[in-house]
Symmetry: C2
Subunit: 431 residues, 2 copies
């Protein structure tokens, strides 16, 4: 019998209880013992639960769970940094195995928790933290045994992907798409963390920590949200053969220990026939590039409680097998996180999509292209959308060749400050 203490029993926790029950026979055969939810930490034991649990297993006191010596595994699905951080620290110190789906906690303190788990010889599994039901964490962990990961590019926020998809495919405004996502339960009442890119940045830090063995606790990821993407950008992207997606990018620049780690989250133009371009709605996807493996794409439902519960249960089974066999700690033993410097956003080199709202006066295009050219940014394609006048601005959109971000930003600042543009230029990176 493997005894589990569950911290939190909202919708993910309820899903875990349901799945454990529905697949009990297979799980028992796989683990060699049944898995039992022995104690559950809840805020209000009178609240109705997704899955029915014996009332006497519910408690509002964390000590009842953490100090119960018979409990083997702590499954944390409460979310948030506090008190989850302290509770998991206590559980690790007590030698309990850990399964968590808490991306925010891991992004801030994952390196510290992994280090503690390694030293204490316990497992710490966190598949549920990234990509819902997509088994991306285990693919990354397993890849490391036989390969070097070179880059990870993901669509890892279902809300943002849903909003962008509805804007592009059905012409909804940003506000209308967000409202719809909220009505359907895909977005929180306060969607800032999703729309602004913060949630994707948390997941990216967790992925990068594991893939590149980097201590990244609390790392600041350059992040742009999708709120600045306008319908005209979707239309212009389409015209150039792209779609706009919110991407999270992690890659190593250079070789060896001095290689810099580039982390960024922002909207990007993705070529229409690229696999990532066709990940629509609330689906998530992660593209992993391994030196030996080549490109590998994983996609599936990233949002939602049930897919996350699937990942938590898969982790729990792994951890339980090890515990049952008396060999816990394999999962953390090989993880050694080292310092890794982050690349500066100014040094990113990529192609750009830029949109200027200009007054249609003689010589304006020459001035714009000149300002770009002076800084080494050359243009691949340029389209003026209709005709403006000397007083009514018109949109000019272009795709550039590869350029350094610093040069691009300098050119845009110069152009933006000139009298022939009606508003701040808009820039979206091309993936």
């Amino acid at each position: 019998m493997i005894k589990v203490g569950l911290l939190g029993c909202g919708t993910v926790g309820g899903g875990v209880v349901q799945l454990l029950r529905a697949n009990a026979a297979y799980i028992e055969a796989r683990v060699g013992a049944p898995i039992e939810i022995a104690k559950v930490l809840v805020r209000d034991p009178n609240k109705e639960r997704v899955a029915e649990l014996d009332r006497d297993r519910l408690t509002t006191d964390a000590k009842d769970v953490l100090e119960d010596a018979s409990i083997d595994v702590i499954v944390e699905v409460m979310g948030g940094v506090n008190p989850a951080r302290e509770l998991l620290g206590t559980a690790i110190a007590a030698g309990k195995q850990i399964v968590t789906a808490n991306k925010m906690l891991l992004a801030r303190h994952g390196g510290d928790l992994l280090e503690r788990a390694r030293k204490r010889g316990v497992d710490l599994a966190f598949e549920g933290a990234v990509g819902g039901g997509i088994p991306v964490i285990r693919v990354v962990r397993d890849s490391l045994a036989s390969d070097k990961i070179e880059s990870i590019v993901g669509i890892i926020n279902g809300t943002s992907n849903y909003v962008l998809t509805r804007m592009r495919q059905d012409g909804l405004s940003f506000q209308a798409a967000v409202k719809e996502a909220q009505d359907k339960g895909y977005a929180e009442a306060d969607p800032t963390l999703d729309i602004g890119g913060g949630d994707a940045a948390h997941k990216l830090v967790v992925l990068a920590m594991l893939a590149f063995g980097a201590r990244l606790d609390g790392a600041t990821v350059p992040t742009e949200g999708i709120d600045s993407v306008e319908p005209v950008d979707h239309a212009s992207a389409e015209r150039f053969g792209f779609v706009v997606k919110q991407l999270a990018v992690a890659k190593l620049k250079g070789e060896g220990p001095s290689a810099l780690l580039e982390l960024r989250v922002h909207p990007a133009l993705v070529a229409k026939d690229a696999p990532l371009a066709n990940i629509s709605g609330v689906l998530n996807a992660v593209a992993i590039e391994g030196r030996a493996l080549g490109p590998c794409l994983l996609s599936g439902r990233g949002a939602g409680d049930m897919p996350t519960a699937v990942s938590v249960v898969a982790d729990l089974v792994d951890v339980a097998i090890a515990k049952k066999s008396g060999v816990s700690g394999n999962m953390t033993r090989a993880i050694r996180l080292g310092e890794r410097k982050l690349a500066s956003m100014a040094d990113v080199e990529t192609r750009y999509y830029v949109r200027f709202s200009v007054y249609d006066r003689p010589g304006v295009l020459a001035k714009i292209t000149g300002a770009l050219g002076e800084r080494g940014v050359s243009i691949e394609q340029l389209v003026q959308q209709g005709r403006g006048t000397a007083d009514v601005p018109v949109d000019v959109v272009m795709l550039t060749h590869e350029a350094r971000e610093a040069a691009m930003k300098a050119a845009l600042a110069a152009i933006g400050a000139s009298e022939y543009v009606a508003r701040e230029p808009r820039m979206i990176r091309v993936f």
Copy 2:
């Protein structure tokens, strides 16, 4: 120290040796012990190897490997049914752990080998058998702990996908595309097993055995190759918003133990914006639909020696961890294969694309649609490509609504036998 006996040392085996060497430090930390290739069974010890190996570890006598009591794990990368079957049987009986990438062997005798491994308490890992470097086997195995798999649809033959991609994107003829695939090393000198669908059928059997717990040794999978797909089919599919892909399909029809297992390999029309439609060239992809997980897509390099070697090494590390900890057999313990009846192809229900080459005589379309309608096949779209005459045939292509395969076949036979069609009607299922 985990000692490995390698059976076969062609390009995959050489890749395994290279990867073990390149990632030795991480692997040793992960396993808790180094992994050493102790003996290698080869046909000709004088032949140059991809990876240099001490000459005294090479042998041409299988007994030197299998009867060496110090060897913990047998890695079989020789391919083919014989003598691999007998060698692995002997190795299992001797209590050695097994890693194999041999899809043909597993399709014919996988159930038997798994059963033997389970009874003997040894692990039997076979990630390398399906999908090259894509970790599809472990995703399926892990999913089973927390979910029920409902269907698997894959593009699992890189050669076929390459040929279809080149025909569609660049207008190559079938023969030219196959020739090019051979020149690039993507197709064998005799490409029958790839082009004809036999290789995909082997992999499908391996996937379905695991996903549905079904004893399928030597199962006959209804299989159609891609050799009958003509350029006009690609063009017509495009017109309807589809691309032609070679798919392998496994799904349960019905519920519980009496549910039938539908297995099939054939070309299919896939909607252009579906993720599978954008898996191009030699890439492979597997779409798994789980009851709780929802849809999950994995894609990556399916063909090629290095991706397969990545999977073999990932398996080897798993098996070595268990061996080192003295807990081998977890991988096979929960697998119980039961009998599962296969669905008949006649009962498949799907939409169809059909192409008729007809003489442009009055009333011909009425006859065709009548012959379909009589058998309950209704038409969704119909296009006559240009104009023929009473003596020069013209192509008429249509998409039907969902229909039973038996009805569709009967209608096509009746139409094909009539005097107004110039040649056998062509049918491709729509996915």
